[in-house]
Subunit: 366 residues, 2 copies
């Protein structure tokens, strides 16, 4: 590249872009620090005393309050407060506005301004608070935007551009569709985990040690029941219609499963379980080319350092880990590391594991 080309690329002086973030919790804080690290000036607003000062100290924002001429304002407050704060952002600032709430229909009905599009990043609800703010939280995560027929194209493009700048993979859905999908993949699973957990406790009431049997798969399945109840009250209130519809479908599905078991209809049961197994195996993750990957399962002994050995070994051998999960045995407390690696690395990885006393089981992903 000659000096002319270089000059042309770098010639236009860029004005620093500015963003507002209303609500400096985990999500708001992560958006703010993520944008700052990508060259933005970020103003932050929070009703909790001292939060803005703390956010400035932590380098999460440049200054407190809202910048009226900001290019974009993110509303990252609890679900029930979203509509009010979106209205305020539209009144007090000139740029585009989005929110990050877990339910989208209601806010989309209440805010039909052409400068607003709702959104929902599928990331980060396990850890709480500003101290956990992470500039890379959305890198590789799905971020749903929920345009409506009146949505302004330029607004949508501006907002999705910023989300992509944060590393997110943007998926557009209507607000209703979004709410229906999250009811099935997030809200109803949570209510189901809570119901299963209570069922187990009721069964074990007269003999508490029985819960000792509730290990492994049951622990994985009910873990989401340990989430914060207050968040779920608001979500259930805002997404009531979709949650009820999904609960009805689940109840119908379980009643059908009950009849299949009662009739000892092995063919129907096999079809149901096989279909579910295939769907679970094909659940999309971050993996882009599953046909080139193999799944390595390694039982992890109950001692410190064993998982570390697996990770370190992979790094030592130059084996790239595409995905890593630790799952519990369906029955029992011990873990199994489920690691996805490039198929071309499987022999070297297997050999290294065996040499260190592990017993890997390798399966091609089909």
């Amino acid at each position: 590249m000659g000096p002319d080309a270089a000059t042309s690329v770098r010639s236009a002086p860029v004005t620093q872009r500015t963003a507002n973030v209303i609500g400096l919790g985990l999500i708001g804080g992560s958006i703010a620090i993520g944008l700052r690290q990508r060259g933005w000036r970020v103003h932050g607003d929070d009703t909790r005393p001292g939060t803005e000062t703390r956010a400035v100290e932590l380098g999460v924002i440049d200054a407190g309050g809202l910048a009226p001429d900001a290019d974009i304002t993110f509303v990252a407050v609890p679900v029930l407060a979203v509509a009010d704060q979106v209205g305020r952002a539209l009144r007090e600032t000139k740029g585009v506005v989005t929110d990050v709430g877990s339910v989208k229909s209601m806010v989309s009905e209440q805010c039909d301004d052409p400068r607003f599009v709702g959104s929902h990043p599928m990331a980060g609800s396990e850890l709480d608070g500003l101290d956990g703010a992470d500039p890379e939280m959305f890198n590789g995560a799905v971020w749903v935007v929920t345009p409506v027929p009146t949505t302004d194209d330029v607004t949508l493009a501006k907002i999705t551009g910023v989300l992509r700048e944060l590393g997110a993979e943007v998926v557009a859905l209507s607000p209703d569709r979004h709410d229906q999908v999250v009811a099935v993949v997030s809200h109803v699973p949570h209510l189901t985990a809570a119901t299963l957990m209570r069922l187990a406790v009721d069964r074990a009431e007269e003999h508490a040690p029985l819960l000792r049997l509730a290990a492994g798969g049951f622990r994985d399945m009910t873990r989401i029941a340990s989430g914060r109840p207050d968040i779920w009250l608001d979500i259930c209130a805002e997404n009531r219609t979709a949650i009820i519809a999904a609960l009805d479908e689940l109840i119908t599905g379980l009643a059908s499963m009950r009849e299949t078991v009662a009739a000892d209809d092995r063919d129907a049961l096999l079809a149901a379980l096989t279909g579910a197994r295939e769907a679970r195996t094909n659940l999309p993750g971050r993996v882009v080319h599953p046909e080139e990957l193999v799944e390595v399962r390694i039982r992890i002994p109950d001692r410190a350092g064993a998982a570390a050995e697996v990770f370190t070994l992979a790094a030592d051998l130059g084996v790239n880990i595409a995905n890593f999960e630790v799952v519990h045995l369906a029955e029992g407390n011990r873990g199994v590391a489920v690691v996805l690696i490039d198929a071309a690395s499987s022999d070297v990885f297997k050999g290294g594991l065996i040499a260190r006393g592990f017993k890997p089981s390798i399966t091609a992903l089909t």
Copy 2:
């Protein structure tokens, strides 16, 4: 200790004890190699050609076939074949006999010999096959024994003694009670995970990328749906009554949850979710003294080596990890390591993690 004491401890020559294991899969193989490593002579029997030879080569058993004078015979075959093999073991050998099937009522009714007591180790159903045989599989695991009124005390004591020798914590339950409990904590959760998975697939049918939203908590919750369907057909057939009863209770519980959401009854919903959360938090694991432990949550970045760092750091700092899980965020693909450590180590561990760029969140277990 003087020479006399040493002599008295070692004076009695011990005849080598002998065990038979029928069925050399993962569980049978682990029992066999576990007993061998504890000084037993082990005979193994398997109908699949070449399995006994392979087991001898691997050091899992001493010899193929059944030893008629064995002290104990373990029957570790698929659920529907258990009763036949228990009968055979009682005919062909003189010692006590137990099986390790996942369902206990039917076999207990069919086998009322005083030399037999059924049992069920809560361990090891994720990995398959003899190659995964692990002498420490049952160390620290719950192993249920299911005596009935006609059970011989000496038989029960002999069998539980051997299970404890393998490191298991033995819990005695009636066969019916066992089957009712595992229906709730294992069988019905499996059927529920499969039903949820199919619901999500049906919803996403016209728009497959929607399953991209099904990450995090949903992945944890449906993972058991990826288990082998054929095993579950037999379990559903053998434990039909208890599974139907538990499915009915779950359906009733979900219908009640539906009404609570429909009525926007926040108090009832809060009570239900809070109760489930407390029960989940108190789920007993391997941890003996939870009041002395703290839970450390550490977000794990999506790169190789991060979890290794956490483990290695703990080992370097002399921090003993009482339990370790990697869980997914309720929404999103990234992991959070949930580590239980001694409360006394929490400051040194936290400091070390922060120094290495992690952001630990520490909670006392109450």
